[in-house]
């Protein structure tokens, strides 16, 4: 089976010029290699500024890597091939509030995405938008809502709808759960699991929440300072971490978890 997403030797150099007097800061991301099959979930985790967001952006084509290739279902995803680039792999950002334009309605946002990427007439577009809204757990009436009329969780669902509406093969999400409350988080996790099962979508998400990472990911990738320090199936990495840093991360997570279970024993 051809993996739906395959990344080979991806390298991206991020240059930041701080001032005329200081030398240019360079942050090198990569080389990154991984493969993901349909219906699988890959979690990317690591410290802040380890390059996770840069990787997410290069996967969807927001930034162009200097080296390496990204293959979608075996075919190279070129910047010039807008059809595949925008259509098959889509992005969800952390702060749903800033992902939605406050001056236009939810319906307009989704309508534009469809107009640019699908050959549907106006009536069909509206039907598709309404279907997608219902699929993510919103109402048809939300078509006419503005951003300020929606709660955090609902805004996140709109971001998910925008990503899903083109029936992509892969969705990349940058910390989708971090800004959500626990109850809303559970609902969003369930929603994503449902959609993944129904559409057979692959899901790449960045998260610091190791509990969620362990629960919903098949594969996990730990990053630090732009390099992948450990990668593998979630079970393997969580049960038997190899690298120092991974061990530290997982230990600190489990020490918190174990303290919870200690309470049981005391009882």
């Amino acid at each position: 089976m051809i993996p739906v997403l395959e990344v080979k030797n991806l390298v991206y150099t991020h240059r930041v010029k701080r001032s005329i007097f200081k030398p240019i800061d360079e942050f090198i991301l990569g080389p990154i290699n991984f493969a993901l099959n349909a219906g699988e979930t890959l979690a990317i985790t690591g410290h802040n500024s380890s390059g996770k967001t840069l990787l997410a952006k290069s996967l969807v084509g927001a930034i162009t890597p200097q080296q390496g290739s990204i293959l979608l279902e075996g075919k190279e995803a070129k910047q010039s091939d807008k059809k595949t680039r925008n259509h098959d792999i889509r992005l969800i950002l952390q702060h749903s509030k800033y992902s939605l334009n406050p001056a236009i309605t939810v319906g307009s946002i989704l309508n534009r995405t469809l107009r640019l990427n699908a050959e549907l007439n106006e009536k069909d577009r509206k039907t598709k938008i309404e279907q997608t809204l219902v699929k993510v757990g919103l109402l048809r009436e939300h078509y006419y809502f503005y951003r300020h009329m929606l709660s955090d969780g609902q805004q996140q669902r709109v971001s998910l709808a925008r990503a899903m509406i083109l029936d992509p093969k892969v969705i990349v999400a940058d910390e989708p759960f971090a800004a959500l409350d626990p109850s809303v988080r559970s609902q969003t996790v369930n929603l994503i699991l449902d959609i993944q099962q129904e559409l057979g979508m692959a899901f790449v998400f960045i998260s610091q929440n190791l509990g969620i990472v362990r629960h919903i990911s098949d594969k996990v990738m730990i990053m630090d300072k732009g390099k992948v320090i450990e990668a593998g199936s979630s079970q393997a990495v969580f049960n038997d971490p190899q690298h120092e840093l991974t061990k530290k991360l997982i230990d600190s997570h489990f020490s918190l978890v174990n303290k919870h279970f200690e309470h049981f024993e005391q009882f």
């Binding site: 927001a62 807008k82 950002l93 992902s99 334009n101 640019l116 809502f145 925008r162």
Partner: protein, 297 residues
């Protein structure tokens, strides 16, 4: 099955509607708005409303005081001037020129300014930065002075003075638009638009422009207030509208020599200019507050 959310039944207005509702809360602002609408009506309907031709001279009725004075007559509500022309008709036509030309030139200046500002905002680089700084330094000079200089170069007359003021008003539109567009381009939702495959013009029309309306409304009211004052000032200095075109500032300066014997000839045009600027400023101030309140919500 979708669950109908009974709890969410509430009146949620669109952003523009929200601004209108905030605006309506101040009775002062509504009065100002009504006065503005009145001036718009005058600007359009002056030929129908004026009882006399403003340039017809009636030597039998020279310097008649307004109707509410002792020896005034109802035939000339605002009295007549030194040449026997009816002041009421002249005031109506004057309002038409002053207000109408101000609105027209604000429209032109805003269109050009927004277009330039958008181009400067969407492109990065040193060129747009230099343009911005040049315009900023131009904005430091009072608009009237620059307008006078331009009129001195291109000559007097209503159209020339209008072009001068258009040129003078463009920098502030460019500056505001450029700042706004630059800020918007950094936002996440624009990135998502680009990832959807939207081209720059499309991004501007459908994502940035809808958010710009309120800003433009506020800028335009400010510009309108400046335009009215500048047009009348240029008219007062005889650099603007020339006879036979009737303009409030020009009629003000023509009446100065008889100011002691016929004070109404000075007071009435002055009062109408004052009313125009006051109503614009009240409306503009309320718009700004409504905009600020909306952002807080």
């Amino acid at each position: 099955m979708t669950q109908f959310n009974l709890y969410e039944e509430e009146f949620h207005p669109s952003p523009l509607m929200h601004i209108w509702l905030e605006f309506k809360r101040s009775h002062f602002a509504l009065i100002g708005f009504a006065i503005l609408l009145l001036f718009c009506a005058i600007a359009i309907l002056a030929p129908l409303l004026a009882p006399y031709d403003p340039n017809v001279q009636n030597t039998n009725a020279i310097l008649l005081p307004p109707a509410w004075e002792g020896n005034g007559s109802i035939a000339h509500i605002f009295g007549t001037d030194t040449l026997g022309r009816d002041v009421f008709s002249r005031t109506l036509y004057g309002c038409r020129v002053t207000f109408g030309s101000s609105v027209f030139l604000v429209l032109i200046a805003s269109t050009i300014g927004v277009a330039l500002g958008t181009l400067a905002g969407m492109k990065k680089g040193i060129k747009s930065s230099v343009l911005n700084h040049l315009l900023d330094s131009l904005m430091a000079i009072p608009t009237l002075l620059v307008a006078i200089i331009i009129v001195a170069i291109i000559g007097t007359g209503l159209w020339n003075s209008m072009w001068a003021i258009i040129l003078v008003l463009i920098p502030q539109f460019v500056h505001q638009t450029r700042t706004f567009v630059r800020e918007e381009m950094k936002k996440d939702y624009i990135l998502l638009d680009k990832l959807d495959g939207a081209s720059s013009p499309r991004i501007f029309w459908s994502s940035i422009l809808p958010g710009m309306f309120e800003l433009l409304a506020v800028q335009s009211t400010l510009a309108l207030s400046v335009a009215i004052i500048d047009i009348s000032a240029l008219g007062f200095l005889n650099l603007g509208a020339q006879s036979p075109v009737v303009e409030l500032g020009a009629s003000l300066s023509q009446s100065l020599e008889v100011a002691y014997t016929a004070p109404w000839l000075v007071a009435l045009p002055g009062f109408f200019i004052f009313l125009m600027v006051l109503s614009i400023n009240i409306v503009g101030e309320r718009l700004r507050t409504a905009l600020r309140n909306r952002l807080i919500h």
